[in-house]
C-alpha cells in the first residue's frame, strides 16, 4: 500500500531529516514508528501525507507516485488518510458532532450521508452520548477519541497517529489502543508514531525504529528498543 524508495529529505536549512529510506507497508498492517525525537518520524509521516516532498526518492501510495501529484490532486489523497495528533486539533467553537461532521462537509458530502455516518462513528468510539458537548468540556482521552472519530469518518484506507497517547494517562492510553486495534481489524492500515514503551512492547506489532533519519530496525512483533 505504501512504498518508499530511497527517500531522502533535506530541509532548506540543511537539516537532513530522512536519509535514504526504503520501506513497504502492506494493507491492513499496524505499524509502530519509534525512535528519539528528531529521528525523522514526523518527517516520514509528512512525506506520506504529502505535506513535504522528498528531496530524492519516491513515495508510492496504492501504486501512485504521490511526489508527482499536482496541487489539486492532493486533497483527494488526504481524504484516504486519517490523521490523529497529540494535540487533537479540534475546533473549540464546534460541538463534538460538528467537529466530526466537518470532516465530511469539507469533502462536499451530502447532508444525508453526514446524518447517518457521524452518529455511527461516534458510537464506534463510545461518545454517542456526548455529541452535543464542546471539546473544552471533555477529558483528554475523550477529545482524542473525537479526533479519531473525525479521522475515520471518511473511511480512510490509512490512519496515521502522531503520538496519540502523548497527552494521556496510562489507563486512557490503553483504552485508546483498544480502539485503534478495533479500527485496524476492519482492514484500516495504521501507522502510529510513539514514545510509549509499554504499549509497543505488549502489542507485539511491527516496529520500525528510526534514528538520525535512517531505519535502524524493522521487525515483526517487535519491541520498543532492541535487547542489549
Amino acid at each position: 500500500m505504501i512504498n518508499l524508495y530511497n527517500v531522502t529529505k533535506v530541509y532548506t536549512n540543511g537539516a537532513k531529516a530522512l536519509n535514504d529510506i526504503s520501506l513497504t507497508i502492506q494493507k491492513g498492517e499496524f505499524v509502530f514508528l519509534v525512535g528519539p525525537s528528531g529521528a525523522g518520524k514526523t518527517t516520514l509521516i509528512k512525506v506520506i501525507f504529502r505535506e513535504e516532498i522528498p528531496t530524492r526518492g519516491q513515495v508510492l501510495f496504492n501504486g501512485k507516485n504521490i511526489s508527482r501529484f499536482k496541487g489539486r490532486e492532493i486533497p483527494y489523497l488526504r481524504r484516504k488518510i486519517g490523521m490523529v495528533f497529540q494535540d487533537f486539533r479540534l475546533l473549540p467553537q464546534k460541538s463534538v458532532y460538528e467537529n466530526v461532521a466537518f470532516a465530511l462537509e469539507v469533502t462536499g458530502a451530502s447532508g444525508k450521508i453526514i446524518r447517518s455516518r457521524v452518529p455511527e462513528v461516534l458510537n464506534q468510539v463510545g461518545l454517542a452520548d456526548k455529541s452535543r458537548m464542546f471539546p473544552s468540556q471533555l477529558s483528554g482521552g475523550e477529545q482524542q477519541r473525537v479526533c479519531i472519530a473525525r479521522a475515520i469518518v471518511n473511511k480512510p484506507a490509512l490512519l496515521i497517529a502522531d503520538e496519540p497517547t502523548g497527552n494521556l494517562d496510562p489507563d486512557t492510553s490503553w483504552e485508546l489502543m483498544n480502539l485503534l486495534s478495533e479500527i485496524n481489524k476492519n482492514d484500516t492500515t495504521i501507522i502510529m508514531a510513539t514514545h510509549a514503551r509499554e504499549i509497543v512492547d505488549s502489542m507485539k506489532r511491527r516496529v520500525i525504529a528510526m534514528s538520525d533519519g535512517r531505519v535502524s530496525r524493522d521487525e515483526e512483533s517487535g519491541v520498543y528498543s532492541s535487547e542489549l
Binding site: R79, R89, A109, A157
Partner: protein, 309 residues
C-alpha cells in the same frame, strides 16, 4: 478498498446543496463575527464608490457638454469662382465620401448672402447693393464625426479640385480636444487609485477574518478540503461586503444626483445635465459590478498565502 472508492466518488460529485449552504453560512457568520471590520470595509467601499460614482456622472456630463461643442464645430469649404452647378453635386458626393465626414451641406452664394443679411438683423440694408454683384463664393458646410480629426480633414479637403479655401476654428479645436483628453486621463487615474484603495481595505478585512480562522483552515487542509472549498466562503464574504458597499453608494449617488439636477434645471435653465435613465442605470450597474470585483479581488489576495501546499 471499498471505503476509499466511495469517498473518491463523493469527492468528485458536483457541489451539493449541503456545500452551498456551508459556504453561505460560513460567509455570513464571518461577517457578523467581525462586525466592526465588516462595517469599516463596507464603509470604505461605499465612500470610494461614492466618489467614483459622482466622478463618473461628472465625467458623463463633461463629455456630453464637450460633445455638444465639438459637434457644433464645422469646416467651411469655399469653392473657386464659377464652379458649375453640376460639378457641385459631384463634389458634395466626393466630400461625403471622405472618411470621418458626417455631414455635408451646400451653401450657395445667394444663400450665404441671405444668412449674412439675417446676421446683420435690422441693418440688412447695408448689404443692399450686393444683390447685383454678389462677392460671396459658393461653399460647403462640413461636419466631422470626431473633433480630433478636424485639422486633418481640413487638409484633405483643401487638396480637392476647385477648392479655394478651407476655414475652421483653427486653434480652438486643438485646444478643446487637448483639454478634454487631459480631463479624461486624470479622471481615469483618480478612478484607478480609488479602486486600489478599496481593494486594499477589503483585503485587510478578509485577512483579519482569515487570520482569526487560520487554525480552522489548517485543519480543513488536513481533512482533504480542496483549495476552492477553503477559498470560496472568503470570496463570498468579500463579494458581499463589496456589493453592500456599492449598493449604499449607488443609492446615495442616485438620490443625490437626482436632487442636484432638479435644482440645477430650476435655477440654471440653460444648463442641461444628463438625466437619461439609461445612462444612470449603467453607472449604477457599473458601480455594483466594481463593488463585486473589488470584494473578490481583495479576498483572493489575502487568502492566497494560507493555501500554499
Amino acid at each position: 478498498m471499498a471505503g476509499s472508492a466511495a469517498t473518491r466518488k463523493a469527492g468528485y460529485t458536483a457541489v451539493s446543496f449541503n456545500t452551498l449552504f456551508y459556504y453561505w453560512r460560513e460567509a455570513v457568520n464571518s461577517i457578523f463575527r467581525n462586525s466592526w471590520l465588516s462595517i469599516a470595509s463596507v464603509g470604505t467601499v461605499a465612500v470610494s464608490l461614492l466618489i467614483l460614482g459622482f466622478f463618473t456622472l461628472a465625467a458623463v456630463n463633461v463629455r456630453e457638454f464637450t460633445q455638444g461643442i465639438e459637434s457644433g464645430l464645422e469646416i467651411r469649404v469655399y469653392l473657386k469662382d464659377g464652379a458649375a452647378r453640376e460639378n457641385v453635386n459631384k463634389m458634395q458626393a466626393q466630400i461625403a465620401g471622405v472618411p470621418g465626414v458626417s455631414l455635408v451641406d451646400f451653401v450657395s452664394r445667394e444663400q450665404a448672402l441671405e444668412e449674412m443679411k439675417e446676421n446683420f438683423g435690422g441693418r440688412g440694408d447695408i448689404l443692399e447693393g450686393l444683390d447685383k454683384d454678389n462677392p460671396l463664393p459658393d461653399s460647403f458646410r462640413v461636419r466631422a464625426e470626431n473633433a480630433d480629426n478636424i485639422p486633418d480633414l481640413a487638409g484633405q479637403l483643401m487638396a480637392l479640385n476647385g477648392v479655394e479655401q478651407v476655414i475652421y476654428g483653427h486653434g480652438l479645436v486643438e485646444k478643446l480636444v487637448s483639454v478634454t483628453r487631459w480631463a479624461r486621463l486624470t479622471g481615469a487615474i483618480i478612478l484607478c487609485f480609488l479602486c486600489l484603495a478599496a481593494i486594499f481595505l477589503i483585503s485587510t478585512t478578509i485577512r483579519m477574518s482569515v487570520f482569526a480562522r487560520r487554525k480552522e483552515i489548517g485543519i480543513m487542509v488536513l481533512l482533504g478540503a480542496t483549495n476552492w472549498f477553503v477559498r470560496f466562503p472568503y470570496l463570498l464574504e468579500g463579494m458581499m461586503l463589496g456589493l453592500v458597499g456599492a449598493a449604499l453608494a449607488g443609492t446615495v449617488v442616485y438620490a443625490g444626483y437626482m436632487s442636484l439636477t432638479s435644482h440645477i434645471t430650476q435655477s440654471l435653465p440653460f444648463i442641461h445635465p444628463v438625466t437619461d435613465r439609461q445612462v444612470l442605470l449603467q453607472v449604477m450597474g457599473g458601480m455594483l459590478g466594481i463593488g463585486l470585483l473589488i470584494g473578490a479581488l481583495g479576498s483572493s489576495f489575502s487568502i492566497r498565502k494560507y493555501l500554499k501546499t
